[in-house]
């Protein structure tokens, strides 16, 4: 099935929670409401005509101008060998999205990564901790307004230029 057919199918079931087909120039996607994402995901996985058994990629992208953190779900079906992209826009001031961890186990780490780097909270996630950065890290570095801390545990994060160093001597 192509994106338009899947969108029509989902729209009939979920109404306003599933938006129209939109274009990102090189692929089409469908916008889904953050609170409905788990139910939509379950249908996408379990319906025999869709059978999206694999969450191929889950990426977050900060869009301060729209006040959203956009999360892109790239789905793939090994049964039908077709793909589908859905997006969820989390509000930047209160980024909360339902988890899909129980639909696709692969989402566990991918969601943790987005929480770590973009600060999106996945409601209902079993183990929402920082994944890549240390637990005591401050801030979410992939947000566009992130400011680097001058030091971490007494290690300064700035290195003086070697040229300046030789001038001093």
């Amino acid at each position: 099935m192509n994106t338009a057919a899947i969108q029509q199918f989902l729209h009939e079931r979920f109404g306003a929670a599933v938006g129209p087909v939109e274009s990102a120039r090189l692929f089409d996607y469908v916008e889904v409401d953050p609170s409905a994402v788990e139910e939509v995901a379950l249908v996408l996985r379990d319906h025999p005509d869709l059978a999206f058994d694999c969450l191929n990629n889950l990426s977050g992208c900060d869009r301060p101008t729209r006040g959203r953190i956009q999360i892109t779900y790239e789905l793939f079906s090994y049964v039908h060998r077709h793909a589908f992209v859905m997006k969820v826009g989390a509000r930047r001031d209160r980024p909360e999205v339902r988890t899909v961890e129980r639909v696709w186990p692969a989402a566990n780490w991918l969601e943790r990564e987005i929480y770590d780097l973009l600060g999106v909270i996945f409601l209902g996630h079993s183990d929402l901790r920082r994944l890549l950065l240390p637990d005591d890290w401050v801030g979410y570095p992939l947000r566009k307004d992130y400011v680097e801390a001058p030091e971490y545990h007494g290690i300064s994060t700035v290195r003086e230029s070697a040229l300046k160093l030789s001038e001093r001597r």
């Binding site: 990102a24 120039r25 090189l26 692929f27 058994d53 694999c54 969450l55 191929n56 990629n57 889950l58 990426s59 977050g60 992208c61 900060d62 892109t72 790239e74 090994y78 060998r81 992209v85 696709w104 186990p105 692969a106 566990n108 780490w109 991918l110 780097l117 920082r130 994944l131 890549l132 950065l133 240390p134 570095p141 992939l142």
Partner: protein
């Protein structure tokens, strides 16, 4: 005298408790800096929780600072064991966004470089697999063969490990004179060597005992956890991006996609993951021979402006690296810097699965499991 079955404080003398063990981040068999916190009952693990990020180098953020061309050297370091394929993924993402077409000779150069890199990576995987479960000799053999490929790639682009060979629109340099003949000479030497490695390692009784029926991944679980590449194929799913979502000039080549058959145990065990890589080396050699045979004439790079500014848009690019389908999500906003780059790698998915697989395994099996997944730390952390 009665037998005392309790300590003075009332505890049962036979009572046992779980042991918590830390493995890594500095550990010789974790393939880079990975850390596991293991809860074990004697030698049997209840679970092994992975703690990653010790090599998180913020490559995705750097992409937003250095521009389209400038990001190429960083892609080498996303997966340093097979840098060529990661190069290719980034070049492809930028080309699709900017609508650039690569000349045919450029694509052939890419395939030759990428397949040499794949052999290089699988050699290290097979050698390290032996070393991790106690067989040192195959590792030294593999490193010896690797040096030959390193020499070839060094002649091609001047670097042994981090190549920075590909460019948006093609490759940086044409193949040096006589390169094809050298690759063929190497293949003549290498193909018998793979059989030798096969004889030396694959059928070894201890090797089979350590790997067969260990950490079996079923087809369903492999897909649910989004395992990719050789790890997925070992579980019996015949899916290779080069074949089923073709890119570059791969459709022109004749090669097979080996899958796990469970020759010594069940489909999807550690041994299957190892043998799939061994077979893939043979297939890569096949592709190399065809690519050198059919190498067309012409330019190797398209005309791409120095100040590259692809139009706003988003793209998903999939490339078959030695560790499987590497999925790049790139967002352009029409400026000379990428707006967002996200890389989902094969090792990341494999690493996420280890916690589930580790339950009930022996601690020594964890080492075999990591080696069989061929995890490379910077691919997990980026």
């Amino acid at each position: 005298m009665s037998l005392e079955l309790e300590f003075a404080d009332g505890r049962d003398v036979f009572a046992t408790e779980d042991m918590v063990l830390n493995m890594g981040p500095q550990h010789p068999s974790t393939h880079g800096v990975l850390r596991f916190i293991i809860r074990a009952d004697g030698e049997v693990m209840r679970s092994a929780k992975a703690d990653v990020g010790y090599l998180h180098r913020s490559i995705e953020k750097i992409a937003e600072k250095v521009g389209w061309h400038g990001f190429m050297p960083y892609t080498d370091r996303v997966d340093y064991v097979a840098a060529m394929t990661t190069n290719q993924a980034w070049a492809m993402a930028a080309e699709v966004l900017g609508g650039v077409t690569v000349p045919r000779r450029g694509e052939y150069c890419r395939v030759i470089a990428a397949e040499l890199g794949r052999i290089c990576s699988h050699l290290l995987a097979a050698g390290a697999m032996g070393m991790d479960i106690g067989a040192i000799t195959p590792f030294t053999h593999a490193v010896r063969e690797r040096e030959l490929i390193n020499d070839l790639l060094e002649e091609l682009c001047g670097a042994r490990l981090t190549f920075n060979y590909m460019r948006i629109g093609g490759v940086a340099w044409d193949l040096p004179p006589g390169f094809g003949a050298k690759v063929l000479r190497f293949l003549d030497h290498f193909e018998p060597y793979v059989d030798e490695l096969d004889d030396l390692l694959s059928g070894n009784k201890i090797y089979i005992e350590r790997l067969a029926n260990v950490a079996v991944v079923s087809r369903e679980r492999a897909i649910a956890y989004n395992l990719v590449g050789p790890n997925l194929r070992a579980s019996g799913v015949k899916y290779d991006i080069r074949k089923h979502l073709p890119y570059s000039v791969y459709p022109e080549f004749d090669f097979e996609v080996p899958i796990g058959e469970g020759r010594h145990g069940s489909v999807g065990d550690c041994w299957d993951r190892y043998i799939v890589r061994l077979h893939e080396m043979r297939q890569s050699a096949r592709i190399l021979r065809q690519a050198i045979d059919g190498l067309p004439e012409g330019p190797v790079i398209a005309k791409v402006p120095r100040n590259y500014k692809p139009a706003a848009g988003e793209v998903h690019v999939h490339v078959e690296t030695p560790r499987g389908d590497q999925s790049w999500y790139v967002v352009a906003d029409g400026t000379e810097y990428p707006y967002r780059v996200h890389i989902r790698t094969g090792s990341f998915a494999a690493m996420a699965m280890i916690e589930e697989l580790s339950r009930g395994l022996m601690i020594a099996d964890l080492v075999a499991l990591i080696a069989s997944f061929d995890i490379v730390a910077p691919e997990v952390d980026r």
